[in-house]
């Protein structure tokens, strides 16, 4: 067993028992990265020298904290002081922030050792990490397949044992979908649970920072570090943060689980439906009460999402104008051309497409039919969930309609690519927490099961997810030997 194969809690135990130093752990991580990174391509940049320094500092107790000396990765959407933050875009290829994200800073403060910045779809717009301006990331389970997106680098790195855990962001499924494709645990907390400060915005009302880990226990440990109010993010809420590890027990007897029939319909692979239904059976056998419910507006979540998200994105990405940072057309002789040329060169086609879509949805004459209508639909979706949560503790559904698809398979057909998010976006539209955990394999590829909880009730998600690991024995799935 190599150190890089272990989970965060296993590494912590070894470290606390002086059986492994931080330096050994970090060395092992870099050994693994150098072994597989040529195939996986999860990282946009590595911070090797600093990471090794911090590991040594942790060993000499100069870098203290709850996860002192433990390696982690950040999606390249998290600003890192003094370290390039690109959002996988030519626009920010040379951007060096002068500030850290709150979530990243909290991990630093807890003694975490940042290994590097992870690949993603440009500005978090995509579901395959093929939209990175630099290169595509490959799925460790099958290198010809995508890892999902937009946090594909984070999912792939955890899956390939390049880091024990990583942070990502989830605007329409960007944590849960790649977690499902790569067979890892991916938690998107409630909107307002983790600070968005220092995280480059895609769609501000939907974005949320979350965790990729190898198992549920690690997810709970990391949530303990990053959750909670941040005075610099007005939308981060003053809601008490429990000790999430206290939810790690298998006691789900009597838990009421809703199974929404709309998530098991047309377009969702039969094998995936079956795998999730089997998992529900196991829950029932363990004493949970499972009932079918309806979330009647589900089919409208995706079209409404693409209007709301792109509208917000069109404003959030307007600041990239070549004046204060980022790529700039130095040849333009007037400011309008400078703006337009800089933006056209800096942004990739998916980003331009979404900016165009969002601009259109907000523009005079279309606002009511598109953007405003989408906000009304958003309320209906929110109310659907509210009704179910009046009676149930949890909703269980598949995370994705298919398993990981082939690289190149869906490129050039944006609408098909958008359909990947069909089972994840309702959660974002309603601001709810959702976790994807591996529930089995289909043709050798991981299948993700999605648990959806009440606002700020990540605890119940962790409890039910942990229980499933216990009941099923599916924990820390590793890609088949020989693939990487």
């Amino acid at each position: 067993m190599e150190l890089y194969e272990l989970t965060l809690h296993e590494l912590l135990t070894l470290h606390n028992n002086k059986q492994a130093s931080s330096e050994e752990i970090v060395n092992s991580i870099f050994k693994r990265i150098h072994q597989v990174e040529g195939d996986v391509k999860a990282f946009i940049s590595l911070d090797e020298d600093t990471a090794r320094q911090k590991a040594r500092a942790a060993d000499s107790e100069k870098w203290p904290g709850k996860i002192a000396g433990m390696p982690f990765g950040l999606k390249d959407i998290f600003c890192t002081r003094g370290l390039k933050t690109t959002c996988a875009s030519r626009m920010l290829e040379n951007f060096v922030p002068t500030y850290d994200s709150t979530a990243g800073a909290r991990l630093n403060a807890a003694g975490g050792v940042l290994i590097g910045k992870l690949n993603m779809d440009e500005f978090a717009m995509g579901s395959s990490t093929e939209q990175s301006a630099f290169f595509a990331t490959h799925n460790p389970w099958d290198l010809t397949r995508v890892p999902g997106g937009s946090s594909g680098g984070s999912a792939a790195a955890v899956s390939a044992d390049e880091v024990p855990f990583a942070l990502g962001t989830d605007t329409g499924g960007s944590i849960r979908q790649p977690a499902a494709f790569c067979g890892v645990v991916g938690l998107r907390p409630t909107y307002g649970r983790v600070s968005r400060w220092g995280v480059i915005a895609y769609a501000s009302s939907l974005d949320q920072v979350g965790v990729f880990s190898k198992d549920v226990e690690d997810c709970a440990l990391v949530m303990n570090l990053i959750a909670g109010r941040d005075p610099r993010d007005a939308t981060s809420l003053e809601v008490e943060v429990p000790d999430y590890t206290a939810y790690l027990d298998a006691g789900i007897k009597g838990m009421k689980i809703a199974c929404p029939r709309e998530y098991f319909g047309q377009g969702v692979d039969a094998g995936i439906q079956e795998a999730v239904k089997k998992a529900l059976q196991k829950y029932e056998e363990a004493g949970a009460i499972v009932e079918e419910v309806s979330l009647p507006h589900s089919q409208y979540a995706l079209p409404a999402y693409y209007l709301v998200a792109t509208a917000e994105a069109s404003a959030n990405l307007a600041r990239f104008d070549g004046v204060r940072y980022g790529l700039r057309d130095g040849q333009a002789d007037n400011v309008i051309d400078m703006f337009s040329n800089s933006r056209s060169r800096g942004f990739g086609s998916e980003v331009k497409r979404r900016i165009m879509l969002g601009t259109y949805a907000l523009s005079s004459g279309y606002y009511d039919a598109y953007y405003l209508k989408a906000l009304k639909v958003r309320r209906l979706i929110y109310e659907d969930f509210q009704k179910v949560f009046n009676e149930f503790d949890l909703i269980v559904a598949p995370t994705t309609p298919t398993t990981a698809f082939k690289i190149g398979e869906q490129i050039g057909d944006p609408l098909t690519l958008y359909m990947n998010d069909i089972l994840t976006v309702p959660v974002n539209m309603a601001g709810l927490p959702g976790i994807s955990i591996p529930c089995g394999l289909l043709n050798g590829l991981p299948v993700g099961m999605q648990l959806i909880g009440k606002p700020f009730d990540e605890g119940t998600l962790i409890k039910a997810a942990y229980a499933y690991e216990e009941i099923s024995g599916i924990r820390c799935l590793k890609p088949q030997q020989g693939v990487i």
């Binding site: 939308t235 069109s314 907000l362 005079s364």
Partner: protein
């Protein structure tokens, strides 16, 4: 102005709210710093940065709303107003669109003794943009420089109804609005520093027509004078255009101070489409009745209340009261002075006469005055006590204004004390009586006016330093 047309004017005023820090970050709002030294990643629109609302901004906005008789709704929110400009770092301005903090309201102006009520449509909170400095002439320049010190400075945009009908009404509105903002303590209103800015919407229509004509929005009005001039020019331009059979285009124009003319600002760019939508980074506001009432109780005296007080408690004419309540400083000067010298009309006369003449001549505000109300009160007391004459006082006042010295010091230095000493005066009186026997005779025969001539001669002989009261009494005795 042609008899057949009427000018319709509405004003949009941007007042900088008086806070120490910016609306969404902790950067200072102080005026006059080196470029880009009062900026941070938030107000420079860096990726990943988030706004957090300054509570004081909301409170100052509510206070303003109360002072303008607005309705403060119990719910309001912020919106993004999208447009690209190099001085707007996020390429959207955080502003308020459909649910502003103040709805409706009015203020009263007085034109030639007639009161007129001007409606206020709304007032909303927003952030200011940065500053663009064009190198050289705006038309010939090849580049500009961006300073973001102002970016994120809190503003209240106050929009009036199109209720004004002349340049002087517009001026009176702006003066009154400024007075209210100053009294309420919500803004410094320094037009030259840009903390009070005004755009005017001007249209004309034939008298009797009720529909509004196409309007021009005039920008860059940075003084009361330019506001008046620009409106007069623009009204004339529009009337001439209509009479020449041209249609007025709805457009933005700018006031060219050098040419004393408005000119079109239309560029090749198409019309704006601001694509407002709710600001997701800022939770909305719930403004409780209790909060509003708490702010109402700390509301200082406003110009209208002060004006009534001056008229009712001190018996001042409404004209005096209106002028003295244009700024809190002039009212405070008056109040303090009257406290020490309880003759309000006299104080008012001096303030509106000598003081205001000298301030205007020197282009100063009352806060720049080098002496205070106590010194004016002392000067007036010296007149009453007979130490100096009213005429001497005017000279001393000019000295006080120039040097800031107290009146007693000036009098001592110049040896200007009034002569009240009886023996000295009797000597002069006797000489004058002896020198003017026919006039004396006239007086004794009942010609009262003859006395005035004799007093004049005595004053002349004493170079104006004789105490007129004492002279009168003594003269009558000696005659």
């Amino acid at each position: 102005m042609g008899k057949d047309y009427e000018v319709v004017i509405g004003l949009e005023v941007h007042a900088e709210l008086k806070t120490d820090s910016k609306i969404f970050c902790g950067c200072s709002t102080a005026f006059g710093a080196e470029p880009n030294t009062q900026v941070c990643p938030v107000c420079s629109g860096f990726p990943g940065m988030l706004p957090v609302l300054n509570q004081k901004v909301v409170e100052l906005a509510i206070i303003t709303g109360l002072a303008l008789n607005s309705k403060i709704p119990d719910y309001c929110k912020f919106d993004r107003k999208n447009y690209f400009y190099p001085d707007l770092p996020k390429a959207y301005q955080i502003s308020q669109f459909d649910l502003p903090i103040c709805m409706g309201g009015y203020l009263d102006i007085e034109i030639d003794g007639d009161k007129k009520r001007i409606g206020i449509t709304r007032a909303h909170m927003e952030e200011d943009a940065g500053k663009l400095v064009h190198q050289g002439n705006i038309t010939s320049t090849t580049f500009s420089l961006v300073d973001l010190n102002r970016s994120g400075v809190p503003l209240l945009e106050i929009v009036s109804e199109p209720d004004m009908r002349s340049a002087s009404e517009a001026r009176a509105y702006l003066e009154k609005l400024r007075a209210i903002l100053l009294f309420a303590g919500v803004s410094d209103c320094k037009m030259q520093e840009g903390s009070l800015r005004c755009d005017a919407n001007v249209s004309v229509r034939p008298v009797g027509e009720t529909r509004l004509g196409a309007r021009a929005e005039i920008k860059n009005l940075n003084s009361f004078r330019s506001l008046e001039r620009a409106i007069e020019f623009e009204a004339r331009r529009q009337i001439e255009a209509i009479e020449d059979g041209e249609a007025i285009i709805q457009e933005t124009r700018t006031w060219d101070e050098d040419k004393q003319a408005t000119r079109s600002m239309r560029s090749k760019e198409e019309a704006h489409d601001y694509r407002y939508f709710p600001e997701p980074d800022l939770p909305p506001l719930r403004i409780s009745h209790e909060w509003v009432e708490r702010l109402r109780t700390v509301m200082p005296e406003l110009p209208d209340q002060a004006q009534i007080r001056l008229q009712e408690s001190f018996g001042l004419p409404s004209y005096d009261a209106a002028i003295l309540t244009l700024t809190p400083e002039s009212l405070a000067f008056f109040d303090k002075c009257v406290e020490l010298y309880p003759q309000p009309k006299m104080v008012s006369n001096w303030m509106m006469g000598e003081l205001s003449r000298l301030l205007n001549q020197n282009n100063l505000e009352i806060s720049d005055c080098r002496f205070g109300p106590a010194e004016l009160a002392r000067l007036l007391t010296l007149i009453d006590e007979g130490t100096i004459s009213g005429k001497m006082a005017k000279g001393i006042f000019e000295d006080m204004f120039a040097s800031g010295k107290p009146p007693d010091q000036i009098i001592a230095e110049k040896g200007m004390t009034q002569i009240s000493d009886q023996d000295t005066l009797i000597k002069v009186i006797d000489e004058v009586i002896a020198a003017n026997p026919t006039v004396v005779e006239d007086y004794r025969n009942g010609k009262e006016k003859a006395l005035g001539f004799l007093v004049g001669q005595i004053m002349k002989a004493t170079k104006g330093q004789a105490n007129p009261g004492v002279v009168n009494t003594l003269l009558k005795e000696r005659l």
